[in-house]
């Protein structure tokens, strides 16, 4: 497909959204087949585009969206445009494949839901917004799509809005990310003010040629990064993602693991040449990612909800990607984004298979499912090994790239923290697999009616499993050459002069493997068989356990801030508005006038002597004043 027609990719699903949204009730099966066919077409078109892609950065299409002139001079011109480069290609690959898999899987998972058609309409809407996001060539169009995926996320988290918790989670997700989005909008406005353009390449050019004031640009990029922090659920705006698990599980796999939440990573990767000119801002990216990675992994250790474990894991892995970006390693970040999209959506869909079969998502109630759900067990386990980073699965290669980048480009603390997080990752992955699929069933009635999921759900699991196994190989020269990009992903995905062929750093690779194996070993020690050791570990440091279970009290802090500070302020302002401004200022002055009128009317006595007296006093007063001024 020609790159000029890349706008077709989002156009197809948006039309399908409109068709299903308006006429879904008239279509057989609510129109799910239409959504899947459309997404299939998009996937094929994207594949053709990717094959055609020559490694060039091409701005392909633009259209005037609005303009405002000041007499003869055009002072504001907003164009919408598409732009494709290697980063876009990586995103297209991840987005189209995972979306298609999730749609197929949803046919089984969502079967019988009362809003089945609407669900597929929303998935199509999401796909349209996400594809717009990745092909947009300017920041305003990106922002438009950014809010679009946020809306899709809101509607899908709250898909079962009759559940109070789902409605609240949807609202929380939207408002939390909106705090970041406002930062992004301010950042975009400030970039426009400094460079006079919304076009990403023009802004990058302006920054690289030193067109911005350094302090100004640092502040601007921090505002911009706030948007990434919100969308990619990084500390301190990570709180919405675990709650977002209230949505249907395929949605969690698609939006809250593989695609939308990586939009922040994509944004920073896209703008990395600008971040490269203000290193303070890049360091903020690095340390935000680092804190988030270790913090989220630690919370995943103690969480008992299978989906929430995966949510924390996602937050943690996104932290890894930001660390890579923080040291300027765009290749490593995009590579990990790609592999993570596959193995994490696999894990989420696997957990969905478990939930579908058992209607239970607390690991304390599961266990022993391996006999009843062999396909799910095997695929989920492979996904977990990929996540833990064991060679030769996908996670190993991309995590290794990030570790190498951190070792080379950042203070030692970053590398050490990441390595420790890698241990934690292996521990919680092992724990999750053991508690869910191994051991003895903890709840008989749950276990009784468990069954393997239908083929329509298992086949996407198998495909994603294959990708979780092999997608790491795109780093290798030979594989890259076979697929049409000589030198592997490292030679293709880069900005400026950073391109390099993949080379295994033995020290780092061996160290990381030892760390992962160590973590898996720990997992087995504590959660294999009886629960006594895990119990003992919990009692060893109850305060630490409470801290983790309560999510570092961050949610409590935010809730208290909203309740006490913001709503308190609202109450105070409300009191001020009603009592001071309205009753005193407005009603008071009205009553005051009435009161004066009541008093003053007694002056109108109608008796001539009174008026004569007043007149005389007045004349004398005027006379005195007149004499005084002379």
């Amino acid at each position: 497909m020609d790159m000029e027609h890349v706008w077709l990719l989002p156009a197809i699903p948006v039309v399908i959204f409109a068709v299903i949204g308006l006429f879904g009730r008239l279509l057989p099966r609510g129109g799910d087949w239409l959504a899947i066919l459309g997404m299939g077409a998009v996937t094929v078109l994207a594949a053709l585009a990717i094959v055609d892609f020559q490694g060039d950065n091409i701005a392909v299409w633009s259209e005037e969206w609005m303009k405002i002139s000041d007499g003869s001079r055009v002072v504001e011109l907003i164009e919408i445009s598409t732009y494709v480069d290697s980063i876009t290609v990586v995103m297209l690959t991840a987005v189209t494949i995972v979306t298609l898999m999730v749609m197929v899987y949803s046919v089984g998972y969502m079967a019988g839901d009362s809003r089945y058609g609407w669900y597929f309409a929303l998935l199509s809407f999401f796909a349209a917004a996400m594809l717009t996001l990745v092909v947009s060539g300017n920041l305003l169009m990106l922002y438009l799509a950014w809010e679009g995926v946020g809306l899709a996320s809101y509607l899908l988290i709250g898909f079962w809005w009759e559940k109070q918790s789902a409605a609240e989670a949807a609202k929380k997700a939207f408002i939390t990310t909106r705090i970041g989005d406002v930062g992004l909008l301010i950042g975009i406005i400030l970039l426009w003010r400094g460079s006079g353009s919304f076009d990403i390449q023009e802004i990058i050019h302006h920054a690289e040629s030193g067109g911005f004031d350094q302090t100004y640009l640092t502040i601007t990029m921090l505002f911009l990064f706030a948007g990434a922090v919100g969308k990619s659920a990084q500390f301190p705006l990570h709180v919405w993602l675990p709650d977002a698990m209230e949505g249907p599980t395929p949605v969690s796999a698609l939006i809250h693991a593989a695609t939308m939440v990586v939009a922040g990573v994509y944004l920073v990767a896209r703008m990395l040449p600008v971040f490269d000119t203000v290193l303070i801002a890049r360091d903020v990216v690095l340390y935000t990612g680092l804190i988030t990675a270790v913090m989220a992994a630690s919370m995943a250790l103690v969480t008992s909800d299978i989906k929430r474990v995966l949510a924390y894991s996602t937050v943690s892995q996104l932290g890894f990607m930001f660390v890579a970006l923080g040291v300027g390693a765009v290749t490593a970040a995009m590579f990990h984004l790609l592999t993570h999209a596959f193995f994490k959506s696999l894990l989420f869909l696997g957990s969905g298979s478990v939930i579908h079969a058992t209607e239970e998502q607390e690991v304390e109630q599961l266990g022993g499912l391996r006999r009843k759900m062999p396909a799910t067990t095997i695929t989920f386990t492979i996904g977990a090994i990929a996540l833990a980073g064991i060679v030769p699965l996908a996670g190993f290669w991309s995590k290794d790239e990030i570790l190498v980048a951190a070792q080379e480009g950042a203070p030692a603390i970053a590398y050490i923290t990441l390595a420790a997080t890698a241990v934690l990752t292996a521990v919680y992955s092992t724990r999750l697999v053991l508690l869910t699929f191994w051991g003895e069933p903890k709840n008989r009635s749950v276990h009784e009616h468990a069954h393997e999921s239908p083929p329509v759900m298992v086949i996407p699991l198998l495909i994603l499993t294959a990708l979780a196994v092999v997608s790491g190989f795109v780093a290798l020269d030979g594989v890259g050459e076979a697929l049409g990009f000589a030198g592997g992903i490292g030679e293709v995905v880069y900005e400026g002069a950073h391109g390099h062929a993949y080379a295994l750093n033995e020290t780092v690779a061996i160290g990381a493997t030892i760390a992962s194996l160590f973590g898996i070993g720990l997992g087995f020690i504590y959660w294999w068989g009886c629960a006594a050791r895990a119990e003992a570990a919990r009692n060893w440091a109850p305060e630490l356990h409470a801290l983790l279970v309560n999510r570092y009290y961050i949610d409590h802090l935010y809730q208290a801030t909203i309740d006490r500070v913001i709503l308190g302020l609202s109450g105070v302002v409300g009191w001020f508005d009603r009592r001071v401004i309205n009753e005193t200022g407005v009603d008071g002055s009205a009553q005051g006038l009435g009161y004066f009128g009541l008093r003053l009317k007694f002056l109108q006595t109608g008796r001539i002597p009174n008026y004569a007296l007043a007149m005389a006093v007045g004349v004398i007063a005027i006379a005195l004043v007149a004499f005084g001024t002379n």
Partner: protein, 495 residues
């Protein structure tokens, strides 16, 4: 053309005046026919304006001029004309007036109390508001400005609810207090310049009058800021909205508030450009306070209608922020915001009215899970809410982002404060939607119906369409606004 638009609602009112009282259905249809005709005329005006604008000649000055000498007292320096015309600033406002008046008639279909009189006042109101947007003579402008008070007072105090007499009187007194200053300022301006013609005054702003120009500026602004309204002269608005019938709230938020912003752009800025520039920081400060103050207040409202009303205070602050930039982009944003807020908040008030018609309560804590019974109302409410919180691809975003872009250089602090108002907007809108529409179904509301009347669906559909269309193709609006703002920006920029 413009005179025709003014006469149509009056004609409808006259016809209603001779209709017997008990023929309620006929009265409704008369009102509908005449307001539809007026809307059609407003649409023709807008489309013809756009065609003219896109022609090679472009648009210079005003179009569709209707003009004749009215009070000929040239010797006394009191020369008043009947002078109508529209440009890129007023054409969208005329269209908005036509659209919202039609919608107001539609959603009043179920009014049963004194139907005939109700529609008479509604139609008179339409003429008065449209007259404000078309008048190019200060005295004529003032007359239309005051004419709008009478029907509003009647509509709120007779067909309202709650403390309706109090609210109607408060509305009246606030407006009159503001317009008294405006009239004085107009007289001084007109007599010193020997003309009340806005075109003349704009071309040659008076350099000196018997009172300081800054006093004149604030005299004119007094009326406009009250009408907009901004902190601290906003308290009439929540009361008037809460106690007014739905259709009146729609018109009040949709077009009446815009008279304030329109007046600033049409009269205060081009006639007193130097003073406007001098006070731009004061205006920006008032704007930022209004945005945040209004939004913070909105968070805690438990009355759904009052919630929307307070959000209007916040959103009108954006208009003032755009104006305070004194630049083409910001002022265009302000004009856009006037139009988009008109459709968005108008729609919000319609939805609140539809909910109230069914539940007979506006207290948010009493409602829950209404989506089960009324999915269409809930969905449209959500669309309106998302537009109100500035979601891209809906019209509110176009206006807000234009204002922010225009204001960032001149008023960075006020702009950033105003952008954060958007977070609060997400908070109060989504929280309200969650509490009212989501959650488990409740027995209390199990008997409610969705919006099934054709009049309701037509009203909602039209409004949603206008919001989405402008959001996706902003140029259908921005090109007009741009052409209207450019000369004003040039005048203010030169001062």
């Amino acid at each position: 053309m413009l005179t025709l638009f003014l006469l149509l609602p009056l004609g409808g009112a006259a016809m209603l005046a001779v209709t017997p009282n008990e023929r309620k259905e006929e009265a409704r249809w008369i009102a509908l026919v005449f307001s539809s005709l007026a809307f059609a005329v407003s649409a023709v005006i807008f489309v013809r304006f756009m065609l003219e604008l896109n022609s090679d000649a472009g648009v210079e000055g005003y179009l569709f001029i209707d003009r004749f000498a009215w009070i000929n007292a040239r010797d006394a320096g009191f020369d008043v004309q009947y002078f109508l015309g529209v440009d890129g600033l007023s054409a969208p406002m005329v269209l908005l007036t036509g659209l919202l008046s039609l919608v107001a008639v539609l959603i009043s279909w179920r009014i049963e109390l004194r139907v005939r009189e109700y529609f008479i006042w509604l139609l008179v109101l339409e003429t008065a508001v449209a007259g404000v947007f078309m008048s190019l003579d200060l005295i004529q402008f003032f007359l239309f400005w005051e004419l709008e008070l009478l029907p509003m007072y009647m509509l709120i105090s007779i067909w309202g609810s709650g403390r309706k007499e109090y609210s109607a009187m408060k509305f009246l007194l606030f407006t009159i207090a503001g317009s008294a200053f405006m009239l004085l300022a107009f007289l001084v301006l007109g007599l010193s310049a020997d003309s009340f013609d806005i075109e003349v005054l704009t071309a040659n702003p008076p350099a000196e009058t018997i009172v300081p120009l800054s006093l004149l500026f604030w005299g004119v602004m007094a009326a406009f800021l009250v009408k907009l309204p901004v902190f601290p002269v906003h308290t009439w608005l929540p009361d008037a909205h809460t106690d007014a019938p739905t259709a009146v709230s729609v018109l009040l938020a949709g077009v009446l508030l815009k008279m304030g912003g329109y007046g600033i752009l049409r009269i205060a800025l081009p006639v007193l450009p130097g003073e406007a520039r001098d006070f731009r920081y004061v205006l920006a400060a008032i704007a930022a306070v209004s945005v945040v103050y209004g939004a913070v207040l909105t968070l805690r409202q438990t009355d759904l209608k009052r919630l929307v009303a307070y959000s209007s205070v916040s959103h009108m602050g954006y208009v003032l922020l755009g104006v305070a930039t004194m630049g083409a982009v910001g002022m265009s944003g302000a004009a856009l915001q006037m139009f988009t807020h008109g459709t968005i908040t108008g729609l919000l008030f319609i939805m609140v009215g539809l909910v109230y018609d069914r539940t007979h309560t506006r207290e948010i804590p009493e409602m829950s899970g209404l989506m089960h019974r009324m999915p269409v109302i809930g969905a449209v409410m959500l669309i309106a809410g998302l537009a109100s919180l500035g979601l891209p691809a809906l019209s509110g975003f176009v206006a807000e982002v234009t204002i922010f872009l225009g204001a960032i250089a001149e008023h960075p602090a006020a702009t950033i404060a105003a952008v954060f108002g958007v977070v609060l907007a997400a908070g109060y809108i989504l929280w309200a939607v969650e509490r009212v529409f989501m959650g488990p179904p409740s027995d209390r509301w199990a008997h409610l119906d969705d919006a099934t009347g054709w009049w309701e669906r037509l009203a909602m559909g039209g409004m949603v369409l206008s919001i989405v269309a402008v959001g996706i193709f902003p140029r259908i609006l921005t090109d007009a606004v741009e052409s209207g703002i450019a000369p004003i920006a040039a005048i203010v920029g030169a001062a």
